[in-house]
Symmetry: C3
Subunit: 342 residues, 3 copies
């Protein structure tokens, strides 16, 4: 990553509420507080690292409004509402420079069915496959080696990275962003046990990804048995996550890596699942509920609550049990003492 | 998904044991009991939803033989041996309409080694790669962007979906179905620690998938160090599952999402692993054993038993321990009271 | 796998310290002790299987130097420093025969940007995509359907298997080996919650894989928010592992299947993570620390220690708690008895 920002460019981009100190350096890199060298920009995003600000060698530091203290020589503090958001603005600018939007058009090595409808403003990269009946909207970018199966419909301003597979009849609304290797519309895992064998139940539903959904690398979203698996607007899903068939996920949820959500379960809006959580089938996780890492959810979770543990239960209950579990050696001794006294 | 079934077509396809009521509607959709509208077909597959039958707006309902009660106006009940199996029949019919078997032949953008042997009745899709020495049987369908490495042998009526990779020298028998992104024959994870470094042990065995095996999206099956990793007839594996090298899996097993099975372990026939289970190496999980979600299996599991927990132990033992764990706050109080009385 | 080794070839390749017995058989296979037939070579790699040596039908057995006992008729024991390493040598020989290094050159179906620099000694397989600014070193082999994004730099003697994706601006040093479907340089999972929505923080850093790194099938390594995600020399990563953004992994670590490492965490050299471990963000796992299967690491782990459990704690502490937990039924009875006596 190569960057070069003058102080003037930074001021105009980041619009700090307050500026302390000054630097003559051109900013040529971004780094964490401890690793930054002169010429770098750094920031305090997590209060955990506050003590590292004064010793940071960064030339420009993005700090929260309530930060007290003065910069060193040839160093400047920009006080902003939210240092992480300010950094995001800067990174967004860098991203546009690094990876400018490709020109519209279809790469000569891509294969597009004559029965597909691809916007003149879309970009279809090398070795892509687009089957019959597919519709692809304006400014959407299929990077290399993307597969879109028959009848699927992709909106505008989407970015499908290399190796993404969209199976038949799925729907992606606008600004959907899929990391490499994400699979949308694989068969749901449904069998009936008949005569000593597992007989496949064909999965003839589809998947809908609403506006602004993002899905991580090598994650999988199964198509519904019938009707649809739906992921709501603005929901962000990390890598290697499994979404089962007929799952409904609300708006603006966060689902971290390695989570698995079993069939026909509903997550309401603003749910957060930490990493490696498992959620059983036919359950509801209520609005804005939070589930701790590695939890095993085997009953519905009320809205607004926080659960953890396996099986998951209210956060404070599990916390207390964990503390008592750690006191078991002491408890066994206390009981032994009582027995000796009896 | 667009469907249109008349009552006559449904009767002839589903052959219900008993019919109650009648409807004039053409069936144009399938939906869950609560979501169904007039014109939809619904079903009672899970007794949990029994109460929703009477209020369902579906025009046709598939119900178990012992269901009591009468349909509403313009509504018909079909009583069948197994509503889920009946639905599967219907979905299978829909699937054939939606995704008719493609014509045999090799897509012009596929690359087939001149030293490969592909049946005239097979279908090889866009951008596929088939290396030297590969054999592909009748009616097998490689969807787009499938890779088959040198010397691998694929039987008849298989369906390999986009992005599937079959590494060298693997064997797929008949009717094997692989979801997008499944990897068959990646190297086993084997190293020897010599002189401060991990030295790779080349993995020169292979993988065999027996008849009717199905493997989920982005799952991985490692090739053996030598000899073979084998998955038995009719076994169904969900998404994002890891099967280690030299593992032997029996017939008709069910392995849910995110399970990992370490090297050289054996699962006998009819084993069921729920989601996110880990099984250690060099163990045996006996015939028809069941392992609960997120369990960590670190010793062999006797046939016919059910285990859960981390580390896994018999289901009832773990259940009892979990109940007692939840009573720890009470136990600490009881001990304290005893101490005060002493 | 077809092999054929005469006794002379084996002696010259394996150089045993001691030979007991003799066989006239040509070795045509490798198998486990219990499964081996005459004509096979077998070995004692795990002391657990020692009892199987005397009944093994293998014609050649690789055994540790301290093995006592004599071979049967037409059977030979080779005593070697490390039977697994000896076997690795043999498998390496077999691997070279099975999968000889392909000739250098670019497959006619690959697409290489005119602005990429590919060594004349590299091999680029069918349907690969190599974008502008990419550099690929001598003897590196891109198997079929590999994607390398703009500006990435790949060293010498690397092997990227089918379906691998290298995103933009990443660096692979020498002898890096990536299993099928591995994703290097997917976006880190970073959002700021602003106005009820998760706003993406562009991830403009990269990933560096040092010399001799190996990464398993369908594993994912996220690019950094800025600066880099780094995996140190000789580290080996299994299948379906998630490495978050800005993670730093030291040299010669082992990370087993389904592990997930959250953002900005550091693993020092020689760390070992067993399967399905989760490590939280912004932590340090110290040099040569070991983490047990399915552990949930939510605080930093001191160098040289061993932890397990969820949340993870020192191995012996957790072991003791687990033993006491299993004695809870007894403890409840003892407390009840005390209450009755009072």
């Amino acid at each position: 990553m190569q960057v070069a920002f003058t102080t003037e460019e930074l001021l105009s981009l980041l619009k700090p509420r307050e500026v302390r100190g000054l630097t003559t350096k051109t900013i040529s890199g971004i780094a964490g507080l401890a690793e930054a060298k002169p010429g770098d920009l750094s920031f305090l995003g997590n209060p955990k690292y506050k003590a590292e600000v004064t010793s940071s060698k960064a030339s420009v530091l993005l700090l929260p409004l309530n930060y007290e203290g003065l910069p060193g020589t040839d160093q400047v503090y920009y006080l902003v509402d939210n240092p992480s958001v300010a950094l995001a603005k800067l990174c967004s600018k860098i991203e546009q420079n690094l990876w400018p939007k490709p020109a519209p058009g279809i790469h000569p090595t891509a294969w597009i069915s004559p029965e597909a409808t691809v916007s003149k403003l879309a970009t279809i990269g090398a070795q892509c496959v687009v089957e019959a009946g597919v519709v692809i909207g304006d400014y959407t970018h299929l990077h290399g080696q993307v597969f879109v199966g028959r009848g699927s419909c992709i909106g505008a301003h989407c970015w499908l990275m290399p190796g993404v597979v969209i199976s038949a009849d799925c729907v992606l609304k606008d600004r959907v962003r899929l990391q490499p290797g994400a699979i949308i519309g694989s068969d749901g895992f449904g069998y009936e046990f008949v005569g000593g064998k597992h007989v496949k139940i064909p999965q003839v539903g589809n998947v809908t990804l609403e506006n602004d959904v993002e899905i991580g690398a090598n994650s999988t979203v199964d198509r519904a048995r019938f009707s649809g698996t739906v992921i709501g607007e603005g929901t962000k899903i990390d890598n290697l996550v499994q979404i089962g068939h007929n799952v409904t996920i609300g708006k603006h949820c966060i689902i971290c890596s390695h989570c698995g959500i079993s069939g026909s379960t509903t997550l309401e809006d603003y749910v957060v699942l930490a990493g490696q959580v498992g959620v059983g089938g036919h359950l509801t996780v209520g609005k804005a509920a939070k589930v701790g890492a590695q939890a095993g959810v085997n009953e519905s979770v009320p809205a607004g609550t926080m659960v953890r543990g396996m099986p998951a239960q209210p956060y404070m209950t599990e916390q207390r049990l964990e503390i008592l579990r750690r006191k078991l050696p002491e408890l066994f001794k206390r009981v032994q003492k009582l027995e000796e006294q009896t």
